[in-house]
Symmetry: D2
Subunit: 347 residues, 4 copies
Amino acid sequence: MEKFRFLTSGESHGKCLTAIIEGLPANLEIDVDFINSELKKRQGGYGRGGRMKIESDTVEILSGVRFGKTIGSPITLMIKNKDFENWQKIMSTNPEDETDEKAFTTCRPGHADYAGSIKYHQKDLRNILERSSARQTAAEVAVGAVAKLFLKQFGIEWSSKILQIGSGKTEEEFHTEIDNAKAEGNSLGGKIEVTYKNLPIGLGSYVHWDRRLDGRLAQAVMSIPAVKTVAIGNHHAYKMKGSEYHDEMFLENGKIVHKTNNAGGLEGGMTNGEDLVISATMKPIPTMQKPLHTIDLATMEETEAHFERSDTCAVEACAVVAEARVAWVLANEMLLKFGGDAMREEP
Amino acid sequence: MEKFRFLTSGESHGKCLTAIIEGLPANLEIDVDFINSELKKRQGGYGRGGRMKIESDTVEILSGVRFGKTIGSPITLMIKNKDFENWQKIMSTNPEDETDEKAFTTCRPGHADYAGSIKYHQKDLRNILERSSARQTAAEVAVGAVAKLFLKQFGIEWSSKILQIGSGKTEEEFHTEIDNAKAEGNSLGGKIEVTYKNLPIGLGSYVHWDRRLDGRLAQAVMSIPAVKTVAIGNHHAYKMKGSEYHDEMFLENGKIVHKTNNAGGLEGGMTNGEDLVISATMKPIPTMQKPLHTIDLATMEETEAHFERSDTCAVEACAVVAEARVAWVLANEMLLKFGGDAMREEP
Amino acid sequence: MEKFRFLTSGESHGKCLTAIIEGLPANLEIDVDFINSELKKRQGGYGRGGRMKIESDTVEILSGVRFGKTIGSPITLMIKNKDFENWQKIMSTNPEDETDEKAFTTCRPGHADYAGSIKYHQKDLRNILERSSARQTAAEVAVGAVAKLFLKQFGIEWSSKILQIGSGKTEEEFHTEIDNAKAEGNSLGGKIEVTYKNLPIGLGSYVHWDRRLDGRLAQAVMSIPAVKTVAIGNHHAYKMKGSEYHDEMFLENGKIVHKTNNAGGLEGGMTNGEDLVISATMKPIPTMQKPLHTIDLATMEETEAHFERSDTCAVEACAVVAEARVAWVLANEMLLKFGGDAMREEP
Amino acid sequence: MEKFRFLTSGESHGKCLTAIIEGLPANLEIDVDFINSELKKRQGGYGRGGRMKIESDTVEILSGVRFGKTIGSPITLMIKNKDFENWQKIMSTNPEDETDEKAFTTCRPGHADYAGSIKYHQKDLRNILERSSARQTAAEVAVGAVAKLFLKQFGIEWSSKILQIGSGKTEEEFHTEIDNAKAEGNSLGGKIEVTYKNLPIGLGSYVHWDRRLDGRLAQAVMSIPAVKTVAIGNHHAYKMKGSEYHDEMFLENGKIVHKTNNAGGLEGGMTNGEDLVISATMKPIPTMQKPLHTIDLATMEETEAHFERSDTCAVEACAVVAEARVAWVLANEMLLKFGGDAMREEP
């Protein structure tokens, strides 16, 4: 059912991350600097650890674009892992390079390690953690940046913000919370909000459950690593009475308007002309210097999980990823609604 | 990507609701009484209005089942709308029956009416509201009941409960809240929680965003009419520190266990052996006796939206629908993981 | 990736055939008489057996249409099996009705019986043959008729013809061939051709293998029961030289034209402005009065497969089904290309 | 509905071809030499032109494989275009490199040029031909090689052969035909056949049209560039009588066997235990030295299409691509049937 479709690939310490996007119209201008600025945003934020200094992600376009514009064929985006040179042997595809170096058998709670090792029959947890790492979101942000370039052509705008980190609710508190958590080797989560403006009325539909935009957005945002809740509009909806919550309609200069937006821009699973507002909460990062009690799968003995290097908080990155993912969903909906093989004007 | 797939259809006052399910294995016992008991649960709950007394839903199986067992071919479920006899002319498919009776031009805030009328170019809002009505969830619950019958064969169990209605947090308070809201012609939302037990480890995957079970569940639950938030596991995750939140692992009689389940049974987008716990909040029902300010699309004048008949609160029904939808997702995941064209033992 | 999607269901002697179609725009006029005339065509043709006299298929629309027009919600089509009254016990969904009457253990060569019994673990081959019967194509023709009504709005036209039956190549020879085959209890196949006219240029695409229209059409036509080959355009392509085969381009009154259409209207997997021409061959019907050597799965002994009632030739029906299936594919492509939630003009 | 899914990308003279494969189990051994030998086969065959000497395709694995085995995460395959160094400016993604060099406005009959230019609003036909080139099949063959490595684990075997080139039916005649065509600047098509052995009974299904294996195979093979017909089993089916065509069943040492295989291993859209035999015909290559009459879209004048470099015949390559595509379909069906996240034995 997707018009805008893509696959991403790549391990955290592998050679590169790759994405192939298929289904975008021809003649869309692709601004590489914009994609790179999105990648940079994902890497930023107070509370990030050492990895972010090693990698400074930039995208290379390998197909689908000529002289700055899409030509209708699939677009390939590649982000090299700059750290790969130090991991060539350990992450080698070659059977002759097989080694136990950097092998890993202690399950880290909160990660994919345990379930992944059972699902995929892996003894070396590195074979799980390399892909389950949040690094895969770099490719996703690049895909989202391309989707945003498409949406921008229709006047659609977006923004995101951090609503909470730990128990802090202002930027100043965010920093204090993070500093304190870092000092004790701990980690923090938080809450973010994404807004998209100027969407046409009637994206999504109530006619079948899987056409509803609320559901599609929820899938896209909930499947961000570490996200545990997703909300559309006012979080307090469930505690409000109908008379308080619902967005009444008025005429203003002959135009229909809502004066409130508790619904977050979605009624009946469709955009209703108001800003689309979606928020999410993120659990604290599971990679911590403070050790967690766990099991070593090789020895089947209890032990502690501990790690050299880690972020304390990645809530800002989460907002960037959420923006990107919402862009995927909206790009697909725009294409389903309006069709189109090429951008209307040939520049 | 779906193995378990289905379509539902039907208008609220049309002849019937129908669902076709495709992809279930042969030799699965289909207990019609169980499906009907699920339908009955959906209709129950304190605070429901008059419609629930008119319809007492029962399913008729039109295909795919012989002598009580699936045969591999698509299963058709039909739920007749008992009220249809009073609506035959108004809901006729025949162009010669065209009438303005029961036509509807006043947008009800919180409903699909406004966006739907624009999206589908409809002047008579009945053409929107008939399908956007929550009545379509009856067919969905029937589909979910079939999915549950499949899951049950693997020892999987489920339950759901109401966590909050308005500001009430106990059953006694639920009733008081509802009585008060009803008295003032108002409506209420609330919060529900669904639990599935005995799931195998490793349903879902972290390898690609759309394989993650958290996202798939979020889509299924968020797209329930009136649901506005979805959460996996402990709602307070975002305020907790990593050392408080993460579910540490221990050995108990040689078996790996978590002593807590803040993660709600999902790590890395996969089941981890603990109970799957998903919760959702529902906005207050938008159909209220207390009128809301709105627009009449025929006259383009401001007016009030008011309605004869309505529920005050449908949170209990929401829990039933959420259980059903989680069953869809899990049935599909079980089929992807284990394959299989027929239930292992022919009874 | 489908915009126009549907599921069909129903066993040959069950209560009914059903289809749910999702994704068509609102305000499309649905002419029930047209659907019924298509169903009638499927049942006709020289060489059909007794069943065609028992059933005279008519469709009932159960949802998605109001006052003769679609409203955007899923469309349910039902075709009752008139013969069902004689099969109520034998095809009962109720476990208490279980019976061996009409049970069936002798595999009919050329049918799904043998592979189906193994795949779905069935001892009674009736559980296979009821769905694998070509009767399921009645629902498919109904779906195709709805797709045609959509295509017609764009001025698209269609036709089909029989090119060969057995070794007969003219209508007169068709009848002689069929009469002779019938006399000896034998069966015949043949070759048919479907043409669609006035398609816009650029349906389908070369950018990814699964966007190509030739492949999508081939799937739709090859999966008609008994079809064994599918061809686009001139069947002799493979024996021709490039200079003979390729459709050269000319200007005629300033318009680009091809003077030949060996390509069958598709170049690069896309419509090129010429008539779309797709042909198919059908194997002889496998249900014959002349017995075939086979196995009884209950006794695991060699035996003969023989049958009371049968068509001698169903090539005309095949043409009708092929027309319908091409309509599905084209309707989806038109929706992908042009988008649209509602037909442009509200009548 | 796909378990085995992938996207390919890349232009003919761009930097590289890329494919991402998602959905294969972990612990599958990936033999890079085998993939390269498949790529080499695709490039071979009597009658190929100069390009095949420039490129000697080899694959680089960028993700999803560690120490020679899959780890469950998406697999990225890259094939560099060795010729790219000469095309860097012409195929640049950078808007500043925009140039008319190698621009192209004369539609080549038999190619995507004309329809593509209209669909994607392109004036420079290079933007069409770069992706519509058959070079994209190199990535497809690499994907097919990975699918074959999976199938091989189940004892499945494959082969293909050329049945006809032009009017030649033996290898000696093939060469004569090609030599003659080449001498006159002409091109040839032909007919190929692919066989897969040792498939389990019951891949595919009759229960819904899009589950049928015949249709899925037909899509995969018909969408090979230049293929115009696809056939399952005996091509003469349509001319045969039922008593001659159908594969009767016998017992041999207690095992059910067919003594003939006119059905090509598929009955009821499912594998029936016999060899799967699928054949296809290919039109003559449309790029020819002998010019075809056509239109220059820039001047809208009639002209001739002619080309420097070309193959005379690519039927052998077609067989290799067809083998690969059948492998895709079968890999997906095996995964749907048997499920599985990891190969059963960890070697």
